[in-house]
């Protein structure tokens, strides 16, 4: 449709102007984009990646700890816990739309009195994780009128994945991607989230082949990481309290082949259930950890 492409050109132009303006001004012109509240961190991350300042995001302190990047703009409101966004707050100046996810929502009919509610997430569809995430990004883009930026983002992510695959071609060890839940247990990530995607799209083998839950991970005791002795272990920060101090006296940990032979890398927080930006961040982190000699050029087309 010609009108559509005209609008797209206008949107691109506006985006480019905005991008330059953004470096100089603190808040963007929000009148064109609807005010969107996101109770799911993955949606919040995607909105920010699309250049949209979310009107409100849930549980910002924990977002900063677990998703970390991209940072939440200072203008964004904190609307409380993810599964219970503060309705008294939203009711006083409702957003144009609230994006929630199946996990965090109940009785949306009630919320609909306040604002339209859309359930968008990348976990409750039948699609595999990456396709679901792409689909989610496009849907968010339609809501925030940033379709072109979304296509750019998707293309960037695919390029990053390709380059990651090239960068990791030399890695011939299987990899455990884990996050500590206490000094004796880890969440080990498998099929059905971005770790699975990355493994599938690069030549990397996942060292964990056991069962996983609906979010693609299993909670296991440390010794199960010895089941694939030649594996590399990638640990995603943050550590829960007291784990760091206790690991050195943990004999299983210190005897794991990967630990004895120095094949353990810590990477900065990445939201494993997150969106395209998180995937890119995981790519960069994994390349940094597994193939430190290779520099992964930014996926950006510029």
């Amino acid at each position: 449709m010609p009108r559509h492409s005209l609008a797209s050109i206008a949107a691109v132009a506006r985006f480019l102007v905005l991008a330059t303006l953004l470096t100089f001004t603190t808040h963007a012109d929000a009148s064109a984009t609807p005010r969107i509240a996101a109770s799911n961190w993955t949606v919040a991350e995607t909105l920010i990646a699309l250049g949209v300042t979310p009107y409100a995001v849930a549980d910002i302190p924990n977002y900063n700890a677990w998703v970390a990047a991209p940072p939440i703009p200072p203008a964004t409101l904190d609307m409380g816990l993810r599964n219970q966004p503060n309705l008294e707050l939203l009711a006083q100046k409702p957003p144009d739309v609230l994006i929630s996810s199946a996990l965090f929502s109940r009785d949306n009919a009630r919320l609909e009195h306040l604002m339209p509610v859309r359930l968008i997430d990348n976990f409750s569809s039948d699609l595999p994780y990456f396709d679901a995430t792409v689909e989610m990004t496009r849907e968010i883009a339609r809501l925030s009128h940033t379709e072109d930026r979304a296509e750019q983002l998707i293309a960037e992510t695919k390029r990053t994945l390709t380059r990651t695959s090239e960068a990791l071609a030399e890695v011939n060890r299987p990899v455990y991607v884990v996050q500590f839940s206490d000094p004796r247990h880890v969440r080990v990530f498998g099929e059905g989230n971005m770790v699975g995607t990355l493994m599938a799209r690069t030549g990397l083998d996942n060292a964990w082949t056991g069962p996983t839950n609906g979010w693609g991970y299993a909670n296991v005791s440390l010794d199960r990481l010895a089941e694939t002795p030649n594996a590399h272990i990638v640990v995603i920060r943050p550590f829960p309290r007291s784990v760091n101090a206790e690991l050195s006296s943990n004999h299983i940990w210190t005897h794991l082949p990967a630990v004895r032979e120095g094949r353990v890398s810590e990477i900065d927080p990445v939201w494993i259930f997150g969106g395209l930006r998180s995937i890119e961040r995981l790519c960069h982190a994994l390349v940094g950890a597994l193939a430190p000699d290779v520099t992964l050029t930014d996926g950006d087309a510029s």
Binding site: N83, A91, R184, H251
Partner: protein, 664 residues
């Protein structure tokens, strides 16, 4: 029970179970090392990770299970002997949950203390909780029932504090859930050594106390005449029990029921003297925990979720407690209720009721009108203007009205229970019906991913009916005697605790929403649901008020009531059914944890509202006041984050309860 029976066959059976399961687990988990098992266990080849894993996990885990079980059994034995109470145990005295709360707090705010010595933090928490429980039941001369009830309330309170903390730190505290549910996984011999040394010392000391402790079996006077300082002896034995429990808790987390079950099994299967009981409980406790842990290990490769051993023992222990109840003789005194039941009668109770009504209206006005107002990008506390009436009606009224209705129903249920059982510590929370509702909801939640609100109330109703059936089945024969009724309730509550721990430790993202529901939030109240709950509350109020004759006569005791023409069994059954309905409706809204059903009737009586009618109305008003205030505080204390009304009410109610118990 025949006198020739001995616990030997139980021990042999359990030992056979441990050996068989242990061998099966060894063969399935370490089949690749066949032939090197002993070598790996004793001196593993450092370069072979499989041998290292076997060395640092298998044997230490078995030994820790055995020692932990033995330690808890020892603690249970000592406590039961000192308090002359077959229901005393580390869990029922609140020691384990007190220790857990102390460790949660230390982990959050003083991680460096943890390194200095977990067991001392756990000891401080455990000893504090036990001291509280004993102080609360001191007036009742440590009557078994009162001790157990105080322990339950202290545990509930510690649980509420932990819940409130975990709500805000869930992502970073997953590990605490695992530990809180008692996971025995080992990664070194440190815990084994830790427990071995401490268990050894405590065991030696306990053996030194054995002879004087046995004299407690005699009449107290007899022991005194033998020149023993009873107070010092009891203090020493209790201290040992608490210390050894704290060691286990700090090493492997919360392990339910072993401390209660092991001595009880020993006693029921024929161990009579203290020496015999101690001698048999230790192996029974050790093997019970080891068998459970072996079963957990055998199941664990099949699932992505983590199965916590401690919570599993608690889940198995609840039915065991139900089975034990009719078989234990509770020869302790009935709770002393005189002080609380006969407060001086006021001349003008009506005047007090009007005052309460006035307070209720004021609280409702504040809860509706005062809150956070958004200005630009920040919110600050202020009164709502008239222009915001729509907002108040849509978003505050449903929560306030729902909280009020729930508070009213819990208060009515508590009043009925307290009058019916003649026990001022009875409440729907204690009776286990709230827990039954929660168990039903959890069971439903674990099935499919998305759940409709309708199925939640059906699940809750199913759970409540199941709890009610259990209550009736276990109590019908003795005519719903108060003590048994409450103990049945305690067993059901502990089953809920176990299920909650298992779900939370499974590290399922849905745990957060479960936790917030269990904590009792009015968040989901809408104008429609509010309408329903208010109508239900009013209907039940209308049903309850005419029953004041029963409620006046039943506290006089069954024989008196019967003589005055009350069909005791039938009236109790009807009242029980009403309590169930009230509790289901309220629990679905504010969760199983609030103390309102306990504290509102109690407060009403302290205000001099002694007659059944006055107490019902006064308690109802107080329940509304407390619940509405709790909801308002929860909504505004940490705006925009919201604490569930149930947790806030529990935090307020718990403090009141502990203060008020001095009068019991």
């Amino acid at each position: 029970m025949s006198r020739t029976r001995s616990p030997r066959w139980i021990v042999l059976l359990l030992a056979a179970g441990v050996i068989t399961l242990g061998y099966v687990n060894l063969a399935t988990q370490f089949g690749d090392l066949e032939g090197h098992w002993w070598q790996a266990m004793l001196s593993p080849d450092d370069d072979r990770i499989r041998q290292v894993v076997l060395h640092f996990t298998l044997a230490p885990r078995l030994l820790v299970a055995l020692m932990g079980g033995a330690a808890l059994a020892l603690a249970g034995c000592l406590m039961q002997q000192v308090l002359r109470n077959p229901l005393a145990s580390p869990a029922t005295l609140g020691v384990t949950s007190g220790a857990q709360m102390a460790l949660v707090i230390a982990t959050l705010w003083g991680p460096s203390w943890m390194l200095a010595g977990r067991e001392w933090i756990a000891l401080a928490g455990g000893a504090g909780a036990a001291a509280l429980v004993l102080a609360l039941s001191w007036r009742a001369r440590l009557a078994p029932m009162v001790v157990v009830l105080s322990g339950l309330v202290v545990s509930l309170y510690a649980g509420a504090v932990s819940s409130a903390l975990l709500l805000f730190h869930q992502q970073s505290l997953t590990g605490l859930f695992i530990w809180g549910a008692g996971a025995l996984a080992q990664d070194s011999w440190d815990d084994t050594r830790f427990l071995a040394v401490r268990l050894g010392i405590v065991l030696v000391l306990a053996l030194l106390l054995l002879r004087p402790l046995s004299l407690l079996d005699l009449e107290e006077e007899g022991a005194k005449s033998l020149g023993i300082s009873m107070r010092k002896l009891r203090f020493a034995a209790l201290g040992l029990g608490i210390f050894v429990t704290a060691c286990v808790v700090s090493a492997v987390g919360l392990i339910g029921f072993i401390g209660l079950a092991a001595p009880a099994i020993a006693r029921l299967s024929g161990a009579r003297t203290l020496r015999q009981r101690l001698g048999w409980s230790l192996p029974i406790g050790a093997l019970l925990l080891a068998v459970t842990d072996q079963v957990v290990q055998a199941l664990s490769p099949l699932t992505a979720a983590l199965l916590p051993t401690g919570a599993m023992t608690a889940a198995l222990g609840a039915p065991l407690l139900l089975w034990l109840l009719p078989r234990l003789s509770l020869n302790g005194a009935r709770p002393v209720t005189r002080g609380a039941m006969a407060m001086p009668r006021r001349v003008h109770p009506e005047r007090r009721l009007w005052l309460l009504a006035g307070v209720a209206v004021a609280v409702v006005i504040v809860a509706l009108g005062f809150g956070f107002v958004l200005e630009g990008r920040s919110a600050h506390p202020a009164w709502m203007g008239l222009g915001d009436l729509g907002l108040v009606i849509d978003w505050r009224l449903p929560r306030v009205a729902t909280a009020a209705a729930a508070g009213l129903m819990l208060a009515l249920a508590g009043t009925i229970l307290q009058r019916m059982t003649g026990n001022p510590m009875a409440s729907p929370e204690v009776l286990g019906i709230s827990a039954g509702v929660a168990i039903g909801v959890i069971a439903l939640m674990l099935l499919p991913l998305g759940i409709a609100p309708l199925s939640r109330s059906l699940g809750g109703l199913g759970g409540a009916i199941a709890a009610l059936l259990v209550l009736i089945a276990c109590n019908r024969r003795n005519g719903f005697a108060p003590e048994r009724l409450l103990l049945t309730g305690i067993a059901i509550s502990s089953l809920l605790d176990a299920m909650r721990a298992i779900v939370l430790a499974s590290d399922d993202p849905r745990a957060q929403s479960l936790l917030s529901w269990l904590s009792g939030s009015t968040y989901y109240a809408s104008l429609t649901s509010m309408g329903w709950i208010v109508v239900i509350a009013m209907a039940l109020l209308v049903l309850v008020l005419p029953l004041q004759r029963w409620l006046t006569l039943l506290p006089l005791g069954a024989p008196t009531a019967k003589a005055l023409g009350v069909d005791v069994d039938r009236s109790r059954l009807i009242l029980l059914a009403l309590v169930a309905l009230l509790t289901v409706a309220a629990t679905l809204v504010v969760g199983p944890l609030s103390f309102v059903g306990l504290l509102a009737p109690h407060m009403a009586r302290l205000m001099g509202l002694n007659r059944a009618r006055h107490q019902l109305v006064g308690a109802a008003l107080l329940g509304m006041i407390v619940m509405v205030a709790a909801d308002w505080l929860g909504r505004n204390l940490f705006f925009p984050y919201q604490l569930p009304a149930g947790v806030v009410a529990a935090l307020i109610g718990g403090i009141y309860f502990m203060w008020g118990l001095r009068r019991l």
